[in-house]
Amino acid sequence: MLKIIFGEVENSIYHPPTYFDNQYEDEWITEPLTVAMIKDIDKSDVVGAHLIESPVLGPISTKEISGGVKTLILMAFDQSGRIFNASACGDNCVKWIVELGRKKDLTINLHHVMDFSSVPEFEAVMLNTGVVVHSYGEYLEEAIRIKER
């Protein structure tokens, strides 16, 4: 289940892309889920654990993929128990965050009201208030009332 917590929180990584550069494992990169996320967000192809083919930049290293995808990969595979700041992700990452939250318990930290409108129906626990939301509308109304950012 997806859990969302707004504001400063212990054990969270404010800038996941830097954490990713220093902590990622090669085997994460060639996982089908990662390959699909890199294709969808970055429009790039995973050639191998160390090489990505970008339509804009040409052949690039894994460390040059977007900050949003790096954060998604951490949410999917990191086992450290850290909470990752999803404000490093653009709204084009929302469907993947929701999908990850459907597959596993995923807690994300937000410092802004992320726009989940591209996924009208989803379930999430708003940890600041304990309220469970079932749609984008419920999420937005609850998020607006939470003061922490």
């Binding site: 800038h15 804009v56 410092h111 726009d115 984008y136 109304e141």
Partner: protein
């Protein structure tokens, strides 16, 4: 610092081209649009100059600002355009806001967070996208676009409720119009209260009138609320004082000239946001006249029918508030 600056940052694969015209510009948007790459190119150019292979074309020096020693570095930089990447948590701090206010530099900040301490304009919140005009096989051309589409703002229907950000002169002006036209008028008493007032609105149609010059930190949430409650619309001029100046009720070619390109007149160190400049301009140009303006209490002359209509005409190009006054 004042003025508009055209910036080109390029290597043999990427070209970014855009204009910066206020002290604070925000870049946000989808992942993988090239925000971090732009910062990386600027860092390389600042560090190695021409030998980096990155070309930066701008009338003013462009460089990045970041790290734990930003507050030691910043006082030594003047009249430059400073780019701050999203990893720098200090952009949310009161210390940074105070430093920006006292600075004679322009700041371009990459962040999705709403920086409540900084009064940035809705007009200066951008995303990056690939230009359809110049795209070629060798190089990708990137440009800035306004994140907030004005389509959701426009409405030609008379609202049932008007919510005004102001609590003083601006509110008094709109309340008088609403009273004549059977519209409920509410003051939010500040931009940070707007979303709570909007949240309490039922299914009635509503128009929110706020100062676009400093509404930036509220826009992400207001915009989502407007999209979610389509009967809520928003009118964002620079400020109420800008509306008065724009209406032409105060004589002078100079004022209209300033309004055409305010960036050439507004010194960023003196005016943290443009609304403060427009207030000062209006106060200065009406002093000791029958239109003498005070932000705290509306001069009743502004409620005279002809003057009221001239100010309203500026709004009613986009919104209907009155059938006739």
């Amino acid at each position: 610092m004042k003025g508009k600056y055209h910036i080109v940052v390029q290597n043999n694969r990427l070209r970014y081209e855009f204009d910066i015209r206020r002290n604070i510009t925000i870049i946000r948007g989808d992942s993988a649009t090239g925000k971090t790459k732009l910062i990386s190119l600027l860092e390389q150019a600042a560090s190695l100059g021409e030998s980096s292979g990155v070309e930066v074309l701008c009338e003013r020096p462009c460089r990045t600002l970041g790290g734990n020693d930003w507050n030691l570095v910043l006082p030594n930089i003047h009249e430059q355009i400073l780019f701050v990447d999203e990893e720098n948590k200090f952009v949310k701090s009161q210390d940074f806001a105070a430093a920006v206010k006292a600075s004679d530099n322009y700041f371009v900040i990459i962040t999705r967070e709403d920086l409540a301490n900084l009064p940035y304009s809705v007009e200066e919140i951008y995303g990056i996208h690939t230009s359809g005009k110049y795209h070629d096989l060798k190089r990708t051309y990137n440009e800035l676009y306004h994140i907030y589409s004005t389509e959701v703002f426009d409405s030609m229907e008379k609202p049932e409720t008007v919510v005004v950000e102001d609590s003083n002169s601006g509110y008094e002006f709109f309340r008088a119009i609403c009273d004549k036209n059977g519209i409920v008028c509410v003051s939010a008493e500040g931009k940070s209260n707007l979303k709570m007032v909007m949240d309490k609105l039922g299914s009635e149609s509503a128009l929110v009138i706020a100062d676009g010059a400093a509404i930036g930190p509220e826009m992400n949430e207001l915009y989502q609320m407007m999209c979610h409650k389509p009967k809520i619309k928003c009118y964002l001029s620079e400020s109420f004082e800008w509306l008065v100046l724009k209406s032409g009720i105060i004589d002078g070619k100079m004022i209209q000239d300033i309004l055409e390109h305010p960036e050439d007149f507004i010194e960023s160190r003196r005016y943290f946001s443009w609304e403060r400049f427009f207030t000062a301009l209006l106060v200065e140009h009406t002093r000791d006249s029958y239109l003498q303006y005070s932000k705290n209490k509306l001069n009743k002359t502004y409620l005279h029918e002809k003057i009221q209509q001239e100010i309203l005409d500026v709004i009613e190009a986009k919104f209907i508030l009155s059938e006739n006054i």
